[in-house]
Amino acid sequence: MLDALTLVTGVAALLLAAWCGWAAYRDQPTKDWHFIGMAVVSVLALVQLVIGIVQLARGEKPDQGTTIFVAYLLGAFACVPAAGFMSLGERTRWGSVTAAAGGVVLAVLEVRLHDIWGG
């Protein structure tokens, strides 16, 4: 369950990055649809956070330690919203670049989460 969710969130993050990168390429700021996309990715990360904690509560142990696992889950959850707020304050192509960078960072975090969980 967690593995599948990690994969889905990672792919969604990359799609978001590509989409926002495309907007930046066309010299456009992030628009409503981009923010809806960010919301979808953020919800995925939130679900992942909840499921991850439930797994821990059930007594499962991540390979590389519980603290690191929870820290990465929280980081993954905060990542895209933080980039989204910054792109909200920067209504140029650079806001789109920042949102795209947020998607890339989340994808990297998902890869790390996969390693930490030991899938």
């Binding site: 603290t67 650079w94 670049v97 960078a101």
Partner: protein, 152 residues
């Protein structure tokens, strides 16, 4: 944050255009520096708290890197001319740090039983640690206050 901006305006008598360094490409820089702050600080805090004896040098260097990143982020957000200069100095120091530690980890891997943020020029962080100071220095040079940089 508003009180900080007021200080900038009165403190050095500049026009105090707040957000000067955080607009445009600066947004991306602040975001990436923010990510590096969280990454380096939380990583070193965890490692120093749990397994400091294993690789004291590596973990201390990560902590120093985290502090430098934090300070640069702060100066970018402040955006006054003084902050811009301080950021330039720190970015230069950061670049030197990445290059020195990166080379060091390649020549003498035994000094580092565990990786730092700057190991192998930041390979574990998609080379962001080495690319970031270069682009930041470029950005800081370009956003110099025209009227204040005539000679000074």
């Amino acid at each position: 944050m508003t009180s900080g901006e007021a200080e900038v305006a009165t403190g050095d008598g500049s026009t105090g255009r707040s957000g000067r360094l955080t607009s445009g490409p600066g947004t991306l820089l602040v975001w990436l520096y923010g990510v590096m702050v969280v990454g380096a600080v939380s990583r070193s805090a965890y490692q120093i708290a749990t397994e400091f004896d294993r690789a004291p040098l590596a973990y201390s260097l990560s902590a120093v890197a985290g502090v430098v990143y934090g300070f640069i982020t702060y100066t970018l957000v402040r955006g006054s001319e003084g902050a811009r200069r301080a950021a330039q100095v720190c970015c230069a120091a950061e670049l030197a740090g990445v290059l020195i530690v990166g080379t060091w980890t390649l020549i003498e891997p035994s000094a580092f039983p565990d990786a730092t943020v700057w190991s192998k020029y930041g390979m574990g962080y998609v080379f962001i640690p080495v690319l970031l100071p270069v682009s930041a220095l470029y950005w800081l040079r370009r956003s110099r206050d025209p009227e204040r940089s005539v000679r000074g």
